[in-house]
Structures are given as structure tokens and as C-alpha cells.
């Protein structure tokens, strides 16, 4: 494309990356039903390809060392009489190597999933088919806005936009009340996170007077963390304290969107949506937005070690917690959902301990292998007549060979077994955590390492269990015996993703691999340079190379988990799961019920809120206020019936009353109020 042959032309065309899928959504949304399936597919897919191509061009410039910035027209712009424009947001887009990476993931994986969906959603009627691609295109547009926005506010636009699309897609089959409910639950829980995001934005506006990443970053570099703020909302706080507060608020937003403790509860329910949606939104892209948010604000987080410690710890706890829940899930998509929650936890450990690049690298590799796993699960469901219970599967390896080998490769990658992509990125995270020294809490890194390693052990176990129950052994039901492989439209994207999940290992190679060593770290580090520099200054990051033993430890852990998983579900300990479930029925029940956190929230938050609303309405509105109003009306009526006695037609008495009244009014107006 000659028009994009220089960086400024690429900058000017950045909006096209977003507008392509947006236009696709508009076309399919308005007339897609009448276009026919082939045309609707063409529109949606064409939009994706167009977006992908321009994204590729933008990425190539970024890879050459440029950063692209398109200023954009003003959007919300308010300035006071003194000319200060604090809340002033433009439609500005920005690509550096961080957003460039996500740009490729979103458009690339997005395109593959659009292809897959063309077959997967073929059972829908024309209207449903067009509606699906409308939402999917719209989602991509929103996600790209999130990634490309040059200010927190524009990121927030995408942030809420993907939440909307998630809501619409989870509830895609809205005639099922449970699916509709799952969609709403996702939106509302995300809104709780967005509340934190908003307060974070307001705080940053109060600190920096701008929502622009570039302007905040530049100002943050010049800050002295211990200096006390003299004016404004945070007067009396240190800069470090104020920034820490803001970063914690943003992280609340991240826990919502990226399904971390305590707001992860919506993601497992989100599996009610069509499986390609689970792959694209609830594994590869949207749920990683929180990780992106932390990485994007690396400079600010580097000023807020307590916030980084929180990110690290929450990530570690979530990683383990979700992995444990995944042990006892029997729904193929639910296992993958908890796995996603857990893997997102790993990413937060990475960005929390200052290994921004490792967190983002895991985001990328996870996008490949988890999208592949979800799409594989979809393929299995297709082949099994929409069955999702892994206890009713078994032996699918022979029936669905392509689905099988892609799933296997992705499982190995997710498990973290040498040498596939997931191993390198996960190990980079854990190794960096172990050797980090958070100034606010020195031990948080090593603690995260221990918890994360346990979570990795769990990951290897539940992934092996999942794989074995689904694909190996003998078919356990009629449906499993007669399962069929999906069409190439579905399996080709699987293969591409499996290959990516494999060759993605190149990105994460450590030192010692010649020109390939630390290739992604070196690529993306410029985006984090300022933050990393600050972390080095305060001794947060480990200087020099790490010892090699964590690499081996990680491998042993993964192998161990796999071994146990195989023994319990494929090998000699086959009777053990049954025995455990019967031996500790309460513990097993608690695990199968996901620790009953939903029920806990219901009892602690939802029901009290409902009761409060009902109580307030009955007591305050109906009894107190309306009771008073109606009471006054009654009294007035009573007074009137007394006063009516005065209206007896006696003109002289009227005149007397008028005279007195006139005197009273004059006295009131001129006397009491007068000079």
C-alpha cells in the first residue's frame, strides 16, 4: 500500500483500523439480515482483513522504531475561564510496541475467529447469523479503541465498549433466561470495576491535569515521589501516595475486566455465550485488557510500589484459587474459563513485579493457546451435539484428529512444558517474581513465586485431566463414539493457532540463544523504558542475569503435575478421583460448587441491597414522605371544612377580613422585610 509508505501516512490511517470493523458492524447490523449469509460473512471478514492489513502496516513502522500518534479531533473539551482544560479529550490514537503487539493479536486472532465462526454459527437463522457478526465486529472495533486510545478516557471508551459487546454476546441466545442473566451479570460486575477505573481517572486528572498517557508519562518522570502535594484534591499527600491511590483504583477496574479476585465471578458464567466468543473475548483479548492497562501505565505504577505489590499478590492468589476450582469442573468450557482466570493471574504477577514484558508476552502466548483450546472445545461440542460434559466424552482423539493434535499442542503450551511458548512466558514471569524486590514489600515477589508455582502445578494437573478425559481412553457415551471432525473452516484456524502457540516459543527464549535470545523483551522494552528505569533506581528489579535453576524447577513442576494428572485420569491411579470425591464429599462439593462464592456475594451484597431498596421504598417514600404529603392534604381539607363556615355570605365580615389581611400583607412586605 503506497499510501502507507511513510509513518505519517500510517498515522493518518490509524482510525481505519477501528473504522473497518465498525463499518462492518453497522452494515450487518442494519441490513445484514437481508444480505444473505455469504455476503454477511464477506462484510464481517472483509472488515477484519482490512483492519488486519492496516494494523500490520502500522506494526511494521513500530517495529522499525517509530511510534505513531494521531492527534485526532477534540471530543469532550471543557475549559474554564482561566483557560485550563483539564477534562479535555481528543480522538487521538497511539501505537507503540506495546499497543502494536496487542493490535496484531486482536486483529490476527480476531480474523481467525471470524473465519471459524462462519462455520460454527451456521446453524443460526439469517437474522441471528448477521446479528452475531455485527456484535463480533463491534467488539473488535471497541477492543481496538481500548488498545489504540492515547488517553485513559479513550481507553475507557473501548473498555466499556467491549463490556457492552461481551454483554450482548454472552446473552446472544437471549431466549434462555440463564444466558441473558449471565450477560447482565458480566456487565454489572464489570461496572463495579469500571467504578474504580473512573475514580482512578479522576484522581489522575487531579494529579496531572490531563488524561493523556504521553503527558502523564512525561510529567511522572519529573516527579519526586516523596514530595508533598501542595494544592488540590490530594493536598497533603505525597506524590507517591496519590499515584498509588490512583493506580489501585485503576487496578480495581482491571480486576473487573480481567476477572481477578474478587470480581472474577462473571467469567465462568460468561461461557453461556457462543464458543468463538469465549475464545476471542473471554480468553484472547478482552479479558487481557486489565493487564494491558497496568502495562500501559507502567511509568505510573513504577512510582507506586504498594500498588504493584497489590497487583502481584492479587494475581498470584487468583492464579492459584482459579486453578484449584478447575480441578473439579466437569464442563469443558468451565475448565477453560477457570484456566483463563488463573492464567490472567500469572500475567498480573508479571506486570506487578515489574516484568512488564513477561506479562505481555504471556498475554500473547495465552491468546494463541487459549483461543486454540476454546475453539477446540467448540469443535468438540460441534462434533458431540453440543455436549459440554467431559465425563461423557473420551476417545475423541481418533474421531477428531485435527482437533486433537491442535488441542494437544495447546495443552502442552498451557501446561508449561518445555519447550512450547507457554513454558517460556510463564517461567519468565515466575523467575522475575522470585528475584524482584518490591520496595514496599520485599517478600511479595518470592511469595508470588511460591503461590504461582503451586498454581502452575495445578495448571499442569487440570489441563492433563481435561485433555485425557476428552480425547483419550475409550468413548464413554454413544455421542462420543459417533463424534465427527469439524469442517476445515473450523479446523484450519485451529491449526494456525496451534502453530502460533508452538512457534511463539521463539518470542520468549532467554539469554543464550544467540540472536534469538530475549527477542520479545528487547522488542517491547522501549515501551516500558521509563518505568523500568525507575524500578532499577529503587532496586525493585534484579540486576544482572538470573540463576538458571528456576527454569528447571518450572519444568519439573509442569512434568509433575502432568504426571499426576495422567496417573489419575489415564494411568494406574484411575480409581483415585472417585475415591477422593467419596472420601471427602464436603470438600469435593465445595470445590465443585466453586467455593460457593456466588452464593456468598448473593447473601452479602445482592440480597441486602434488594432488601434495603424495598425497605427504603416502603418506609421513606410511601410512609414518611407521601404519608406527610397526604396528611397535610387531609389537614388542609379539614381546615377548609372549618374555614368554609366563614363563607356565610356576610359581606361586611368579608370586608373586615380583607382589611385585616391587607394590613397584614403590607406589614409583612414593608415592615418585616423592609428597611
Amino acid at each position: 500500500m503506497p499510501a502507507l509508505a511513510n509513518p505519517s501516512a500510517a498515522e493518518a490511517s490509524l482510525w481505519a483500523i477501528i473504522l473497518f470493523p465498525l463499518a462492518g458492524a453497522l452494515i450487518n447490523g442494519l441490513i445484514g439480515k437481508h444480505l444473505g449469509r455469504a455476503n454477511a460473512t464477506l462484510v464481517a471478514l472483509g472488515a477484519m482483513v482490512g483492519s488486519l492489513v492496516i494494523a500490520g502496516v502500522a506494526f511494521s513502522w513500530v517495529a522499525q522504531g517509530y511510534t505513531l500518534h494521531y492527534g485526532g479531533a477534540p471530543w469532550i473539551a471543557v475549559a474554564g475561564a482561566d483557560g485550563r482544560a483539564i477534562v479535555s479529550v481528543t480522538w487521538g490514537l497511539f501505537v507503540d510496541r506495546l499497543s502494536g503487539t496487542l493490535l496484531l493479536v486482536v486483529t490476527g486472532v480476531g480474523t481467525l475467529i471470524h473465519v471459524y465462526s462462519a462455520s460454527y454459527m451456521s446453524h443460526e437463522d439469517d437474522a441471528g447469523y448477521a446479528r452475531f457478526f455485527t456484535y463480533l465486529n463491534l467488539f473488535v472495533a471497541a477492543m481496538l479503541t481500548l488498545v489504540l486510545g492515547d488517553s485513559l478516557v479513550l481507553t475507557f471508551v473501548g473498555w466499556e465498549g467491549v463490556g457492552l459487546c461481551s454483554y450482548l454476546l454472552i446473552g446472544f441466545w437471549f431466549t434462555d433466561p440463564q444466558k441473558a442473566y449471565a450477560g447482565r451479570k458480566a456487565f454489572v460486575v464489570n461496572r463495579i470495576g469500571d467504578f474504580g477505573f473512573l475514580i482512578g481517572v479522576f484522581s489522575l486528572l487531579a494529579i496531572f491535569g490531563t488524561p493523556s498517557y504521553a503527558e502523564m508519562g512525561a510529567a511522572a518522570r519529573a516527579l519526586v515521589p516523596d514530595a508533598v502535594i501542595a494544592t488540590g484534591v490530594f493536598a497533603g499527600w505525597t506524590f507517591q501516595g496519590a499515584v498509588t491511590f490512583a493506580m489501585l483504583c485503576l487496578f480495581v477496574g482491571a480486576t473487573g475486566k480481567s476477572a481477578q479476585l474478587p470480581l472474577y465471578i462473571w467469567l465462568p458464567d460468561a461461557m453461556a455465550g457462543p464458543t468463538p466468543v469465549s475464545a476471542l473475548i473471554h480468553a484472547a483479548t478482552m479479558v487481557t485488557a486489565g493487564v494491558y492497562l497496568v502495562a500501559r501505565n507502567s511509568m505510573l505504577y513504577s512510582l507506586a510500589p504498594a500498588a504493584m505489590a497489590t497487583v502481584t499478590l492479587v494475581g498470584a492468589l487468583t492464579a492459584l484459587f482459579a486453578a484449584v476450582i478447575a480441578f473439579a469442573q466437569t464442563d469443558i468450557k468451565k475448565v477453560l474459563a477457570y484456566s483463563t482466570v488463573s492464567q490472567l493471574g500469572f500475567m498480573f504477577i508479571g506486570v506487578g513485579c515489574g516484568a512488564w514484558w513477561a506479562g505481555v508476552l504471556h498475554l500473547v502466548t495465552h491468546a494463541f493457546f487459549k483461543a486454540c483450546l476454546f475453539l477446540g472445545a467448540g469443535s468438540v461440542m460441534h462434533g458431540m451435539g453440543d455436549e459440554t460434559d467431559i465425563r461423557k466424552m473420551g476417545g475423541l482423539a481418533k474421531k477428531m484428529p485435527h482437533t486433537h493434535w491442535t488441542f494437544l499442542l495447546s495443552t502442552i503450551s498451557a501446561t508449561g512444558i518445555l519447550p512450547l511458548a507457554g513454558y517460556w512466558s510463564k517461567d519468565a514471569i515466575l523467575g522475575n517474581a522470585l528475584f524482584s524486590h518490591n520496595p514496599a514489600w520485599h517478600e511479595v515477589g518470592p511469595i508470588a513465586y511460591v503461590i504461582g508455582t503451586l498454581a502452575a502445578l495445578g495448571t499442569a494437573f487440570y489441563m492433563t485431566r481435561l485433555y485425557w478425559l476428552t480425547f483419550r481412553g475409550a468413548p464413554r457415551t454413544h455421542a462420543a463414539e459417533h463424534a465427527h471432525e469439524s469442517s476445515p473452516v473450523m479446523t484450519v484456524p485451529l491449526m494456525v493457532l496451534a502453530v502460533l502457540a508452538t512457534v511463539g516459543l521463539v518470542l520468549g527464549l532467554p539469554e543464550g540463544f544467540g540472536p534469538l535470545s530475549e527477542v520479545y523483551q528487547r522488542f517491547v522494552e522501549p515501551a516500558f523504558a521509563a518505568g523500568t528505569e525507575r524500578l532499577h533506581e529503587v532496586g525493585h528489579l534484579h540486576a544482572g542475569p538470573h540463576p538458571a535453576w528456576p527454569f528447571f524447577a518450572a519444568w519439573v513442576i509442569a512434568a509433575l503435575g502432568t504426571l499426576v494428572g495422567w496417573l489419575m485420569y489415564g494411568g494406574a491411579w484411575k480409581a483415585l478421583p472417585e475415591k477422593l470425591a467419596h472420601g471427602w464429599p464436603n470438600a469435593y462439593g465445595l470445590l465443585a460448587d466453586k467455593f460457593r462464592i456466588d452464593e456468598l456475594y448473593g447473601a452479602l451484597v445482592v440480597e441486602p441491597l434488594k432488601a434495603a431498596a424495598m425497605g427504603l421504598w416502603r418506609v421513606v417514600d410511601v410512609t414518611l414522605i407521601d404519608g406527610t404529603v397526604n396528611g397535610v392534604a387531609k389537614v388542609a381539607g379539614g381546615v377548609a371544612s372549618v374555614v368554609r363556615l366563614a363563607q356565610n355570605g356576610d359581606v361586611q365580615r368579608y370586608a373586615a377580613v380583607m382589611a385585616v389581611a391587607a394590613a397584614a400583607i403590607l406589614w409583612t412586605v414593608l415592615g418585616v422585610g423592609g428597611q
Binding site: V78, A79, V87, K610
Partner: protein
């Protein structure tokens, strides 16, 4: 007669014309009413295009002034600042939509109905345009009569209770305002002219406080602010669709406009003292109104309570007294008119089809009426302030403007207000879910017709405004700017005069990462 006066009285002239058409020509009444409102809209576009939003332009434009009862200082004085302009535009845009929406809904006494609507339009525009206190009061009270009739005659079962409650609530509060206006006459050099009175007013702080309260009470009832809101759910529920749309769309803004134009600039000192209370009640209203929505079973009642919540945002932004907060308030007034107006239109369409407002009578409608469902979802998104819709611009400006204001406790107010954003998503999405999602079970709902072409024309402008105002707010923010800055400056002058510590305007940020832009800049 200048353009503003023409725009004000064209609907009244239309009403007179309507009165001359024989009673049984319902089609002609409808058509004429539509034409009159469209002509008014077209004329008002002249106001929109002719308004000069630069800081150097006069405060009130399209000004016209005639002596009326000069011996007692009453004159016909009208003019628009940017905020009044926006609200006049809101009125003239909504009215044709309202008329069109009643095409099938009103079959009884069409002539009187249309006359009432047109009189109402003149009264609403007049309220925003008036620059004379008595003129303002006349228009303000004139609104009550057609509105009283709209609810009392064309309302539903419980309409008499509702309409009397509406009338008494608002009238009782307005009488105090009248007394306050009369009082002003004796303390501003003997005039009812707003501009002169504002400049010349001399009252003691104690008097100012009571006067402010008298005005504020009238306005707070109209807004309505917690705890003076209980007339609203009844009035909305019983009013015909057209009445609800006008009530939510325009009438409530007369209250917030009253604060912006009269109560606050006339008595800045009292406003400074009392604004923590306003902010507090506004914040309570945001959360309280939202909680009330949780337990409503009647759709119109639910939307009415959501208005209490939304108008709480507007009042919070006003109390913040920062450029951002005030601008957001003005914007939110427009937003609420558009999105809540649209919600009432949609509920009205469902009501016309099923003759019930009970949420439980619906369910699964998205299958049967996909276009109505789509429109409802879009309007819902606007109502819950999703970015990309108008609602976000208003809420974001109000909440950030409050957070960044110098009002004591501003961060608490903004934080609690932000909780309203979560709650708003809950009750609106629950409503969508119960009405449109799930299985289509009820037999009666299986025969519902989707959006007709006429209804499409009713909703299209609303949805267009939701999107345009969400993506390109600039043209709608610009007119508000001079008025907002003048109000902030007026308060700053008061502070300086009284030697008060700085408590108005936007805070100094800890770091000034962005240099101030010249005044003609971004806006």
C-alpha cells in the same frame, strides 16, 4: 417582534388556529399541531445558528424588551444565554416528536389535547426565554394548567390523585417563589427585570438565605430533588405518554435551569453557604432514586425514579461550581430530555400494544419486536452512560467536575455519585432483561407488531441525538461555555468581595502537565 418572541408565540398562535377548526376533524388537528411544532423547530434553528458563543458576545442574545406595566416595573423582556438556548432547542426538537407519538394513542378530544400541547410549548419556551421575573413566573405557572389537564383528562386510572398531587406540590412551592420575587422588588431599586435586579440587588445575608430557599424550594420540587420527589412517580405513571415525555424531557429541567439562572446567581452568598446541602441531597437522590428503581413493578414508575437519580447528577454538577461540573450539568439536562424522553416513548409504544405498564406482563419481546428491542437497548445504553452515547459525556463531566471542584467533600460526593453509575446499569439492564429477553410466554405478546414507520420517525431523531451528542459533543458544549464561565466568575467575585477562602472553580492540579489553552481554544 424578534425571532425569539416569534419562536415563543408561534405555538400559541397555532393553538388559537386549532381552536377554530371544528371539533370532529381529528386528523386536521393532528396535522396542524405537527406542522406548527415543525415550523417552531425550523424557526428555532435560526436561534441555534444565530447564537454567538464567543466569550466576547453579549450574555443575552435575541434580546427584546418592552415596557408592560412600567409603573410597577414589569416588562416584557426576553433573551437567551447559551443554556437557555440549549433548553429551548430541546423543547422545539421534542415537541414534533411528541405530537407524532400521540397519533394513535390519543383518540379522545384530540383538539383540546393538541391545544394543550401547543400552549405548553409556548409556556416552556417562554420560561427559558424570560428575563423578567414576573414574566418568568407567569410562564412558569402557565405550564401547570395544560399539564394539569393533560394528566387529569388523558391520564390513566389514578389520574386525579396524581394530577392534584402534581398541582399542589408544585404550586405550593411556587407561591413562596412569588413572594420572594415580590420581596426582591423592594430591594433592587424597584424593578422586576432580571438583569437589573441581579446587578442592583441588596439584601442582608440572612435575607439572601431565605430568598434563596424560597426560590430553591420551587425549583427543587420541579427537579425533583430528594425528598420532594414523590409527586413525580405518580404524575409520570398516570400521565399519557406525551405528558410523560414533556414532563421528563423539559419540565424537570425548568427546576435545574431555575437554579442555574435564578437561585444561584441572584443569591451567590447563600448558594455558597447552602451548596453542601444541595450536593448532599443530590447525591442521596442519585443513589436513592436508583435503589427505588430496583423494586418497581411498573415500567413508567421505574423510569420516573430513574429520573430522580439522573437529575441528582445534574444538581450535583451545579453544586460543584466548577466549569466541568456545570457544563456537565447542562449537558445532562439535554441528555436526560433525550434519553428519558425516548424511554417514555418506547414504554408508551409497548403500552399502546398491550395496555399494561407492568413489567411482569412482558418477557421475551425481543423475538417478536426486534426493532423496538434494539431501540430500547440503545436508549438504555444512553441512560446508563455508556461511552459513545450522550449519557457518558454528561456523567463523566459531572463526576470529574465534582471530583475536581473546590466544594468541601467533593471527592466523597463524586465517589458516591459514581456508585449511581453502577446501580443505573443494574436496574436498566434488569428492565431490559425482563421485558425483552427470556422466552416469549404470554399469548398476548405473540401478536405484537414491531415498530411502524411513524414510530420509526418518532424514535429516529432521539437515537440520532443520542449518538451524535455522544460522539460530537462540541457544538452542544460550546453555547454553554460563556454562561458557565460567567456563573463561575460571578461566584469568584462574591468570594473576593466577602473575603472568603477559595471554594469555587476547579482545583489546582498537583502537576500542571498541560499548559492552559487560550480562551478561544478547544471549545
Amino acid at each position: 417582534m424578534n425571532l425569539l418572541s416569534v419562536v415563543t408565540f408561534v405555538p400559541l398562535a397555532g393553538a388559537v388556529l386549532l381552536a377554530l377548526i371544528p371539533r370532529d376533524e381529528a386528523r386536521q388537528h393532528r396535522a396542524l399541531a405537527l406542522v406548527v411544532t415543525l415550523v417552531t423547530l425550523a424557526l428555532s434553528l435560526g436561534l441555534w445558528l444565530g447564537f454567538d458563543a464567543s466569550p466576547a458576545a453579549p450574555e443575552f442574545q435575541f434580546e427584546e424588551k418592552y415596557p408592560w406595566m412600567s409603573s410597577i416595573g414589569i416588562g416584557y423582556h426576553v433573551g437567551l444565554d447559551g443554556v437557555a438556548l440549549l433548553l429551548v432547542m430541546l423543547t422545539t426538537v421534542l415537541m414534533p416528536v411528541v405530537v407524532l407519538s400521540t397519533w394513535r394513542a390519543v383518540e379522545d378530544r384530540v383538539k383540546e389535547f393538541m391545544i394543550a400541547l401547543l400552549v405548553l410549548e409556548t409556556a416552556m419556551i417562554g420560561t427559558f426565554a424570560a428575563l423578567d421575573l414576573i414574566l418568568f413566573y407567569v410562564f412558569w405557572e402557565l405550564i401547570l394548567i395544560p399539564m394539569y389537564l393533560l394528566i387529569g383528562i388523558w391520564g390513566s386510572q389514578n389520574r386525579l390523585y396524581a394530577t392534584v398531587k402534581f398541582f399542589v406540590y408544585t404550586f405550593a412551592a411556587s407561591v413562596l417563589m412569588l413572594l420572594a420575587i415580590l420581596f426582591l422588588f423592594f430591594h433592587d431599586g424597584g424593578t422586576f427585570d432580571y438583569v437589573q435586579a441581579r446587578a442592583a440587588l441588596q439584601v442582608t445575608p440572612e435575607q439572601g438565605k431565605w430568598l434563596f430557599l424560597a426560590f430553591a424550594l420551587a425549583f427543587a420540587v420541579k427537579v425533583p430533588m430528594f425528598p420532594l420527589h414523590t409527586w413525580l412517580p405518580d404524575a409520570h405513571t398516570e400521565a399519557p405518554t406525551a405528558g410523560s415525555v414533556i414532563l421528563a424531557g423539559v419540565l424537570l429541567k425548568m427546576g435545574t435551569f431555575g437554579f442555574f439562572r435564578y437561585a444561584m446567581p441572584l443569591f451567590p452568598e447563600a448558594a455558597l453557604t447552602l451548596r453542601p446541602w444541595i450536593a448532599g441531597l443530590a447525591t442521596v437522590g442519585i443513589v436513592y432514586g436508583a435503589l427505588m428503581c430496583f423494586v418497581q413493578t411498573d415500567m413508567k414508575r421505574l423510569v420516573a425514579y430513574s429520573s430522580v437519580s439522573h437529575l441528582g447528577f445534574v444538581m450535583l454538577g451545579l453544586a460543584a461550581l466548577s466549569a466541568e461540573g456545570l457544563t456537565g450539568s447542562v449537558y445532562q439536562m439535554l441528555n436526560h430530555g433525550v434519553s428519558t424522553g425516548a424511554l417514555f416513548l418506547l414504554v408508551g409504544m409497548l403500552y399502546e400494544r398491550r395496555h399494561t405498564r407492568l413489567v411482569s406482563e412482558y418477557g421475551g419481546l425481543a423475538q417478536q419486536v426486534p426493532w423496538i428491542a434494539t431501540a430500547f437497548v440503545v436508549v438504555t445504553l444512553s441512560s446508563i452512560g455508556l461511552p459513545g452515547t450522550n449519557g457518558f459525556v454528561g456523567e463523566f463531566l459531572i463526576l470529574s467536575g465534582t471530583f475536581l471542584s473546590r466544594l468541601a467533600g467533593s471527592t466523597t460526593f463524586a465517589t458516591v455519585g459514581s456508585v449511581g453509575v453502577i446501580l443505573g446499569a443494574v436496574y436498566m439492564l434488569v428492565l431490559v432483561e425482563r421485558v425483552f429477553f427470556g422466552a416469549l410466554k404470554k399469548e398476548e405478546n405473540k401478536r405484537l407488531a414491531d415498530l411502524s414507520v411513524r414510530e420509526g420517525f418518532v424514535l429516529a431523531p432521539m437515537i440520532a441525538l443520542i449518538v451524535v451528542m455522544g460522539l460530537v459533543p462540541g457544538p452542544f458544549l460550546a453555547p454553554a461555555r460563556p454562561a458557565v464561565n460567567r456563573l463561575v466568575q460571578r461566584f469568584q467575585q462574591t468570594e473576593a468581595r466577602l473575603n472568603l477562602p477559595t471554594q469555587v472553580g476547579t482545583v489546582e492540579t498537583a502537576v500542571a502537565a498541560r499548559p492552559p489553552t487560550p480562551l478561544e481554544g478547544a471549545n
